[in-house]
């Protein structure tokens, strides 16, 4: 049930909710449904856009849902599955509402046309998702003309607003959104000159390399990056160079591509301004909050799941993670959340883990990414000298999230754990 005008006119009074969910995208929706089904019905989802669904609304391609639903859906259809579940349960949500502040005591303030909302909650779920890395974040040299945009912005323009962002396209970065946009632009009559990836391996899924690039004869150049952007008014050309093993451009390999649009698909960064404001500590490796196995941040009663916590490969994993988190929120509300004091440290070739702390009282699925590609990698978790979990991975790539099961019975006490990859 969307919130009616009558209720919103009372915004200067304090509203109450057991749980406020910040963000009505895949993480927020999945958490809401699971919480409701566990008996926490006094929920409030705050969504800043005018519809629920988050970024999925603009992801019109198919391929979502194979893990969660066992069938291949488009983004809007995947979102709609959860939206229908939310609506069937009459879970409260308010759209066009941007949360501007969360306090450590779970006071949530949000801006809406009808007033400033103040909701007092027992627990708050952070589900704001992530942002795209921009040109400025990479410090790409050159001029600053029109026509340099991130893949997600190009996608929103095309799929939501019916605007054509350009005709002659170069794509930097082989992230999945970039690959999807290469195909989308081609289908709409644009000429995609190539996708350039600084790393020696693509960062998007192999299936997208096949069905978005190879199917349309769009070349992929690995170990290449954009080293200059030219044009004063509108983009006129980009210069692309090969890079060495240290990812530094090699002089003499420059090639000029005349184009009117440069699309960037160079990574995603969790969006955590509100998280910091609420006093939670962030993990520099993930860009998200430090969490325990129930996805509770360092602020009691403040939980995070989905891309706001760490960037996922597939939306299915976002939903699943949010559902696990919801179980933790239920325990928290019942005062039964165990204290997590065992830290997981990243050892050899491990970029990060989620969670970063566990209680040792539950079996836990640890998600991680390797730092460098490794064939036939054996991922191990050690506690002191004892090996408490291990997993073999055929081809461990930084682009792929890896899950490893850690069984509580294997633990030998409260000592910290180290996760690493064996040679």
């Amino acid at each position: 049930m969307g919130m009616g005008q009558d209720n919103l006119n009372k915004v200067n009074q304090v509203m109450e909710a057991s749980v406020v969910i910040v963000g009505g995208g895949p993480a927020g929706l999945a958490a809401a449904v699971r919480l409701y089904d566990r008996g926490v019905t006094d929920l409030l989802i705050l969504e800043r856009e005018n519809k629920l669904g988050g970024i999925l609304k603009q992801c019109i391609h198919d391929g979502f849902g194979l893990t969660r639903f066992g069938e291949s859906l488009s983004g809007p259809e995947y979102a709609d599955r959860f939206i229908q579940e939310v609506k069937q349960r009459n879970i409260r949500f308010i759209t066009d509402t941007t949360v501007i502040q969360i306090t450590p005591d779970h006071d949530v303030y949000a801006a809406h046309r009808d007033g400033l909302l103040h909701v007092r909650a027992r627990a708050v779920i952070l589900a704001m998702g992530c942002r795209e890395r921009t040109r400025g974040a990479l410090a790409i040299p050159g001029t600053r003309p029109a026509g340099v945009l991130t893949a997600g912005v190009a996608q929103a323009y095309m799929n939501l607003q019916n605007r054509m962002p350009g005709k002659k396209i170069v794509i930097l970065g082989s992230g999945d959104i970039g690959l999807i946009m290469a195909r989308r632009l081609t289908l709409e009559g644009a000429h995609v000159l190539g996708v350039f990836e600084i790393n020696p391996i693509p960062s998007g899924l192999p299936r997208n390399i096949q069905q978005c690039l190879n199917d349309y004869g769009i070349p992929l150049f690995l170990s290449h990056t954009v080293t200059d952007i030219r044009g004063t008014d509108r983009l006129q050309e980009v210069v692309v160079s090969k890079v060495d093993e240290k990812l530094q451009p090699l002089a003499g390999t420059e090639k000029v591509y005349a184009c009117d649009t440069l699309i960037l698909s160079v990574g995603l960064i969790p969006e955590n301004e509100l998280t910091i404001g609420a006093g939670a500590e962030l993990c520099p490796q993930t860009g998200g909050a430090y969490v325990d196995e129930w996805y509770q941040t360092t602020v009691p009663g403040l939980f995070a799941a989905g891309n706001v916590l760490h960037v996922h490969d597939l939306v299915d994993f976002v939903s699943l993670e949010a559902e696990t988190m919801a179980e933790g929120v239920v325990r928290y509300l019942n005062g039964a959340l165990p204290n997590a004091s065992i830290a997981l440290r990243c050892g050899k070739n491990i970029g990060h883990t989620v969670p970063q702390k566990i209680s040792g009282t539950e079996n836990v699925v640890v998600t991680l990414r390797v730092r460098a590609p490794q064939k036939d990698a054996e991922i191990v978790i050690r506690q002191g000298k004892a090996m408490v979990a291990r997993k073999r991975v055929r081809n461990a790539l930084p682009a792929n999230m890896i899950e490893i099961h850690l069984l509580k019975d294997q633990l030998t006490g409260g000592q910290d754990l180290e996760v690493s990859v064996n040679d």
Binding site: N12, T98, A111, G115, R131, G147, N162, R163, M164, I276
Partner: protein, 516 residues
């Protein structure tokens, strides 16, 4: 036929300040700008320091104007409603050699009339700025920080409010002095021209632009990077110049928490400062500039070599200079007047030769141009009024002149109570467009309908801080372009990013007109 008392060429900080000061009088002022907004050149491509004036040569214009501009700026900022912080500045040193160089500046600054400079020890230095490195410092309390873009917009808007007109996208291509006898009859019978009561010795300038022709009695050349070019059209010999290009990193507000006061390292023996870190009024950090020569007037591209070097240098001095804080880069050029023989840096060139009557040509107004803009503008205004009086034309004060610009507090800077109140009064405040900087629909709408009639996307950005945060418009850009189209009633292909041909869309992806 369009006739003005004064044509100002160039809507940088100086051009806008001149227009604003002239608007204190009953003069028809037109500002011609080749770009689609004010301050697209070097006026905004700098550190945004309100300089104290301790580095410039005693008695020079740069010294006098910066001291004057600095002293009055609290009042100016309040009048124009722009963010400004008198942060003070630390020039830090480690060695006795550094101390000697710093003391030279101290003496120079005191001679220039800069008040309150003092040497401080490490303890006091760390009280002022906990993250400054160094064993001692010179503290200059009068230095401050401002947003030169906001300042120029404010000057332009205030000029506009008081009657000055702005024409954007108008590049001056020719200036001809037309003798009184040669003026078209239709012009001499024009009401505006008759009101000028021109004597037979008084001529007009015919200025051609890519957007038509105008006549003006006075021409002020404040064309910045193109000042020598416009000067030449007026008949002035070019001033020898060298372009010092510098590049910058803009760092996230998260890094901003680590620095409140601009910290400069001790000057080198030749008196030059190396790369430094400066907080901005909005809470970001600027790291830069480096410098190298350029000959190209608008060479604003960032170079890889330069960015790499700047990163290395910046890290030494500002330890929080980390890649994850990168938001954006930019570059600017100081077109400095030099003695071609000795290569010595010369002062601002301000000329109003009697042989080229009714002209003022400003060349080489580089740093501290932002601080000096109003002092320069006042002098030009009194020069114009004085010369007019000499010719028997009394220039009356503009009795409607209002030095104040209406300020709207940013939503992001309001308290929760103020936010609630703002939304109650105007529901558009309840709709947040920019998630990074918390810019509301109300603020975007106000920017779209700005007094200067600027309609570029960067114009909205510079007036609101939308698209300036972490995601650089990833969330709000699509909403802003949609609103721009609606409010202006234009087609998608008519929107402009920053410049004349900087289109954003080729058009609609699907339209009702069927394709063949």
């Amino acid at each position: 036929m369009e006739v003005y008392d004064v044509a100002v060429i160039g809507a940088g900080v100086v051009g806008c300040a001149v227009a604003r000061e002239l608007s204190r009088y009953r003069l028809n002022v037109l500002v011609l700008e080749k770009e689609l907004d004010v301050a697209t050149g070097n006026s905004s491509r700098n550190t945004g320091m309100l300089h104290a004036g301790f580095t410039y040569k005693l008695g020079s214009r740069r010294a006098r104007y910066s001291v004057e501009g600095n002293q009055e700026f609290d009042e100016v900022a309040a009048e124009l409603g722009i963010p400004f912080k008198r942060t003070g500045k630390l020039v830090v040193g480690f060695t006795d050699h550094d101390r000697a160089n710093i003391l030279k500046f101290k003496a120079n600054g005191e001679a220039n009339g800069v008040r309150g400079i003092r040497m401080i020890d490490a303890e006091e230095m760390h009280r002022i700025e906990p993250n400054a490195g160094g064993n001692f410092a010179m503290y200059v309390p009068s230095s401050g920080i401002l947003d030169p873009m906001q300042y120029t917009i404010a000057l332009g808007e205030n000029a506009c409010k008081n009657g000055a007109q702005f024409r954007f996208g108008s590049r001056v291509t020719g200036i001809v002095r037309v003798g009184h006898e040669a003026l078209p009859k239709t012009l001499l019978t024009d009401r505006k021209v008759q009101a000028m009561q021109l004597s037979e010795e008084e001529d007009l300038y015919r200025i051609t632009t890519n957007r038509g022709m105008i006549y003006a009695k006075w021409v002020v050349n404040s064309a910045g990077a193109y000042a020598n070019e416009i000067g030449r059209l007026l008949g002035y010999n070019p001033v020898p110049q060298v372009g010092y290009k510098g590049e910058y990193y803009v760092l996230d507000k998260k890094a901003g928490a680590y620095l409140r006061t601009p910290v400069y390292p001790a000057p080198k023996d030749n008196g030059g400062f190396v790369t430094h870190a400066t907080p901005t009024v909005d809470g970001n950090i600027l790291v830069g500039p480096d410098w190298y020569y350029t000959h190209i007037p608008e060479d604003y591209a960032n170079e890889k070599q330069s960015l790499d070097r700047l990163f290395e240098d910046g890290r030494k001095m500002f330890t929080k200079m980390e890649r994850r804080f990168f938001i954006r880069n930019f570059a600017g050029i100081r077109w400095r007047n030099i003695d071609p023989e000795t290569r010595e840096i010369l002062d601002f060139s301000i000329r109003a030769d009697e042989t080229i009557p009714n002209t003022v040509s400003l060349v080489g107004i580089e740093s501290p141009g932002v601080t000096a803009a109003l002092p320069i503008a006042r002098r030009i205004t009194s020069l114009i009024c004085g010369r007019e009086e000499e010719h028997g034309h009394l220039v009356a004060a503009n009795e409607n002149f209002d030095p104040k610009r209406k300020v709207y507090k940013r939503f992001s800077e309001m308290t929760l109570e103020e936010k609630a109140e703002a939304i109650r009064e105007n529901p558009d405040y309840g709709q947040i467009f920019c998630r990074c900087e918390n810019v509301t629909r109300a603020e975007i709408l106000r920017a779209i309908h700005n007094p200067l009639g600027v309609h570029t996307l960067t114009g909205i950005k510079n007036r609101t801080r939308s698209m300036m945060g972490r995601c650089q418009g990833g969330y709000c850009q699509t909403r802003i372009t949609e609103l721009l189209e609606q409010e202006l009633g234009v087609r998608p292909e008519d929107l402009r990013y920053q410049k004349e041909n900087g289109w954003l869309f080729t058009g609609l992806m699907r339209s009702a007109e069927k394709e063949d």
